[in-house]
Symmetry: D3
Subunit: 282 residues, 6 copies
Amino acid sequence: MSLTPEAIKTLSRVSTATITTVLLKKGLRNVWMRGSRPLRPGQPRLVGPAFTLRFVPAREDLATPESWSSPISTRTAIEAMPEGCIAVVDAVGVTDAGIFGDILCARMAKRGVAALVTDGVVRDLEGVLGTGLPVWCDGFAAPPSVAGLTFVGWGEPIGCGGVAVFPNDIIVADQDGAVVIPQAFLDLILAEGAEQERMEAWIVEQVNSGAVLPGLYPMISPVRGRPAGRRKSILRARSGRIRSSQPRRRRELPRTGYPLSPARARIGIRIRWAKRSTSSPA
Amino acid sequence: MSLTPEAIKTLSRVSTATITTVLLKKGLRNVWMRGSRPLRPGQPRLVGPAFTLRFVPAREDLATPESWSSPISTRTAIEAMPEGCIAVVDAVGVTDAGIFGDILCARMAKRGVAALVTDGVVRDLEGVLGTGLPVWCDGFAAPPSVAGLTFVGWGEPIGCGGVAVFPNDIIVADQDGAVVIPQAFLDLILAEGAEQERMEAWIVEQVNSGAVLPGLYPMISPVRGRPAGRRKSILRARSGRIRSSQPRRRRELPRTGYPLSPARARIGIRIRWAKRSTSSPA
Amino acid sequence: MSLTPEAIKTLSRVSTATITTVLLKKGLRNVWMRGSRPLRPGQPRLVGPAFTLRFVPAREDLATPESWSSPISTRTAIEAMPEGCIAVVDAVGVTDAGIFGDILCARMAKRGVAALVTDGVVRDLEGVLGTGLPVWCDGFAAPPSVAGLTFVGWGEPIGCGGVAVFPNDIIVADQDGAVVIPQAFLDLILAEGAEQERMEAWIVEQVNSGAVLPGLYPMISPVRGRPAGRRKSILRARSGRIRSSQPRRRRELPRTGYPLSPARARIGIRIRWAKRSTSSPA
Amino acid sequence: MSLTPEAIKTLSRVSTATITTVLLKKGLRNVWMRGSRPLRPGQPRLVGPAFTLRFVPAREDLATPESWSSPISTRTAIEAMPEGCIAVVDAVGVTDAGIFGDILCARMAKRGVAALVTDGVVRDLEGVLGTGLPVWCDGFAAPPSVAGLTFVGWGEPIGCGGVAVFPNDIIVADQDGAVVIPQAFLDLILAEGAEQERMEAWIVEQVNSGAVLPGLYPMISPVRGRPAGRRKSILRARSGRIRSSQPRRRRELPRTGYPLSPARARIGIRIRWAKRSTSSPA
Amino acid sequence: MSLTPEAIKTLSRVSTATITTVLLKKGLRNVWMRGSRPLRPGQPRLVGPAFTLRFVPAREDLATPESWSSPISTRTAIEAMPEGCIAVVDAVGVTDAGIFGDILCARMAKRGVAALVTDGVVRDLEGVLGTGLPVWCDGFAAPPSVAGLTFVGWGEPIGCGGVAVFPNDIIVADQDGAVVIPQAFLDLILAEGAEQERMEAWIVEQVNSGAVLPGLYPMISPVRGRPAGRRKSILRARSGRIRSSQPRRRRELPRTGYPLSPARARIGIRIRWAKRSTSSPA
Amino acid sequence: MSLTPEAIKTLSRVSTATITTVLLKKGLRNVWMRGSRPLRPGQPRLVGPAFTLRFVPAREDLATPESWSSPISTRTAIEAMPEGCIAVVDAVGVTDAGIFGDILCARMAKRGVAALVTDGVVRDLEGVLGTGLPVWCDGFAAPPSVAGLTFVGWGEPIGCGGVAVFPNDIIVADQDGAVVIPQAFLDLILAEGAEQERMEAWIVEQVNSGAVLPGLYPMISPVRGRPAGRRKSILRARSGRIRSSQPRRRRELPRTGYPLSPARARIGIRIRWAKRSTSSPA
């Protein structure tokens, strides 16, 4: 499925935390971009296809103010951004030169770019906030990009915050940062993400009513299929047992050699839980 | 002395800055947990005995959603936490996987855990803040713990932010972060901490009235024992002398070879000032 | 020109982002102090001559509370600070020991020190904020300076955040951090900084009215000299051409071997744009 | 299968590079201990069960020479090591304090310990080399362990070089460093490791005879099952095609959006290649 | 001038240390690739045009053994390398996954690739050394590239060790590491490099005969133009003066405010010394 | 005592490992310079008074080849070095610009400088090795010092590898790196260092004869005063007891709450062992 308006609407109700959990169950552990935090606290969740930009380190003969007028420049890249995209910028870990300032961010906002995500930093902090463009980045710095970076192109595979991002991968960004959903996994997230959110909301409610965690989260099989009323009575019975069994804990846990059955190590099992498990993680 | 309610009340009036100063005078320089900052600005100071949890790095066969149901899991650890404890979590420097999210923090709040302290990060930032559990951590990240960490146990000696923490060490956390008071040093802090705070408040007052620092902070012997009124006149006289002696500074400070008398290097001296000094540091 | 009150007034209207751009055009890329961020969001821009302080790492026989009373101490250094100066402190990258707390900051505020800039951290966060002294630093920590640092002097060349700072260099600090203007470059900044700010304000206005970036920022020669009205019509015509030429982009950009004419590599060219260019960077 | 002498003999012919490849095909990417390099170039490959030791950071009241006589000390841990084990030491990333010196290494050699593996460093470099104990570590440092570390126990799960190691996991160390084979994966490595080594030796031979890489490494299906003679003629024919198809490469590779079929993203496929693929990696 | 066999011969007599000095005089300070050291001590100096390869971080759905058979793979990249080129590989700072092992290096050696330069690491250390391919890298690791990296293409601008490298830039690698000569600067290095080497050899000779450094290195104007015999007598006279003036040093060096004339700060001056100076650096 | 030829002779028989142990017993844990390793394996131990040099980060207007001719330059600093000193250079953690090359090292060797110690790197690796000057450093790099560093003076307190070094402190460098002995501690090391070395040699001998570690190292009181023959029989008796008590270990070690008597935490005790203990560390 492509990123239809309906898909965007669905995803805007799925947290990045939930997305990383669902993807991890399929073997993807590395989809959250390190260093990329909301520039303004409380920015709402945003969803869009990745428009990638790429920098390499600065070389003094290339990274000059003159280069801003070259046909390969951040300026021309911005003019190529489609409405609704999320610009994802590979700043190769450079945090002492701002990739964009207020003028470029103002132009992006004007073009309808949904958000800017980068492992680098911005400059003209006050001005950037003033443009209203939602930004996820690693802070701010006064120097211009050319003090530390050379711009080399857009529309290419990049790394951002230690994560591989390809053009048109789906980006979701919220309070916890920004994650990539590879295109091939979009349907999965659309199918399981919302259900997962519903389940977790129910669990939080139970916890607030005093339920213990084991058996509830993740949910054990006798609980999972049942209607909400039946779930509670099973869990209540279980809570009693857990409390009384606490003192016996030590005996059951041999310190040398975890009780790892060989079967658990086989990938087949990983698939089984990927299918049967609808409950979720820490 | 054990951590009685009265001791907790006393400690809640002693800042972590003061605690580190008093401990340093006894030779303990490494008691402040790096990376552990208040998640919500303005969190009040909290005090409690350490309940330790330990992670090691993730191995894909162990760090799975399935592991959340194992008898050694963060869930069972939380059910073992006593009311009033401070959970201290060794996340081995991993900041791209959240050790806990909103559900686990909600349960900790429900159980009366006083606070969560870690050198790692949390996830579901908004949800965690919503639980009201006070948290000191190194930020937030969307991925679940198993994306980067394997949970291995609780109630063990751990490292947190480069500091050794043992179960039942006393933890104090405030605006400046979180520190550990080894049990054997509790009486010392109870005895000297409050006095140190009083002294510093008086010094700030003097500074606000225009007193110069040398002789006042740390307080010189002719000042320290005196009543407040007498202190002022000594210091005022001294201020004059300091100002006029400024131009002679250069002559008195040979640049090569600090005037380090051999005696100063002996530890005996360090003890002497530990006893006589009640004033405090930068 | 020396740092007259008038110069300070002029500089207080030039952002650190603009200063770094103007200096970069003269070949200075390394003038922004890494790690030094405003302690309180929204601190206004401040300008002053650098008063340098220098720490080296802690050695337990030297870095003691006793050392606070030595003739070479942070206390005597503070008493030597002239009104209006900006204290710049080399903390050799140590962020787990606070260089100053509330008492020392209170004294600096009392003496009329304009600001404190460091690549280290402060302690007694709440107290420091209470003194009203504007601080740019890398965060906060509970331990005293002697837990990690030995103070060795003031009025010397230092490194701060990876930047060389000499006594009486001009420091400007604002939302984007703190930069150094070498004395020899003061006239340049006074001459070009304000003009640059005016130009950028005009560009932002154009962007907000829908102008495209290429040709506008940086401004191309046919535009730069013209009156504002004429500029617009040139740019509007140009915008059309840029949009229609987009599809041809690929053909013009050979991927192997950037069209770097040998001439461009010569420093002579860099000088030429340094002279003719009044527009500015990302 | 447990680690019999025969298993050790088999593993001593399988390189750590091959082991990491076979484990990666089962989803284990994190089994190589960062920082752990052979102390003496040319050390032969060694195999043994892990005997784990654990340090936490130093706290001055605990990490003292006195602690060397405590019942929980590196000394007693060494006396508990069984012959043939590989001691794996979690030094929590500390590289400025040597975990062991010549005396402790001499005792380990005397007890028949097969090797020492750590992400920390040793001290008394010359003496340690003199004991003949094979060591994989992150270098050397003069200070004793207590300058930076507190020893807390043995026989526990640890992290070493960013990898989780459990007691009795199998350790293999050679020129490329040290890897862990989880117990549940031992049979897999015994079954596939040797075959993989044979296959790679044959491929190197082909490369030395001038074969091109694509189709050969990893081996394509039409080649893999065949006898060596038949393989060559298929590959030779293929080489011609590859060379002539070079110029057409560009056309086949759309730059935006990798040709990632949704199917490829499913974990089921990963299993299929895990089963059918006997050829190997970069 | 392009990289003719004659140019290669000339460059093979110019050290990377000299090249960085000559380029720095033109304003290029960032041309040496961090982390890239000779894998085998004593490797001779090598020169060639850059053939670039690019990795991004691993994503588990892309970085698989299966990817080794894709049309965009390290295998196809190697088959596209021209004889005599130097392969420069951007491994985005990943040092826990080997970019190439013995098989790929063997194929590169077979194709006549001059050398491999990377900020990453190799695997199969022993095998790689056996292929005879000269390698500059940041060490070795057992895991395959796909454990940490996704290969995305070749013939593109890359970053390597913090330096921008474009296809066909000239690479020179020797005992001190690897540097890039931008194409536009080739003529400069050919013209000045050899002369610089001759001058330095003469200076070393003088030093070994007892000459003092000031005036000799860098050479002062009265010395530089003269025949070797005349140079010596000038320097000898000067040495006497320097020795006797030592005691007066302190007085001449004001500690606050370096004697930085405004003129020195202008870029024009930098050009002047670039032209007149033939002596060289530390 | 000052650093007489006799003292140098004595120190040249005391390893840096032993020095750090003796100093740690007096409370000094931070005397070993991180990053400073022998450039040539097998360099003999060297001893001398520190001659300090100081760099700050590069600023392009100051760090120029022109600066090499200034009155404050590495050249004039070298001419001020007395015979037999050890030059200790603060390179502020910069490892991508060589502080010295072959010419400067040749001059230092000519002047009789005993050794060069730095946390930075050298350049012209081959040439530097050719001068015969013993060097402890953090590797090598091609670029000149001015690519990353500005030289600011000599004869001042510095930091080197995270350690404070003052002019005329005593430096000892060997296979394990370089350590500083503060002047006030020289007599202590002269008195205890040699005895410690003798004791350790005897212990190694015992270990090679099969003695167990507990009780031997560190030596228990009943053993320490005795003649060598008597020591052995005590230890032999003890070894039997240790072996048979192994199985009971678990019971004696409560996991929560280390048996830390309050007394142990008092500094007084640390002094007592400092006086009575002559045996030594890990």
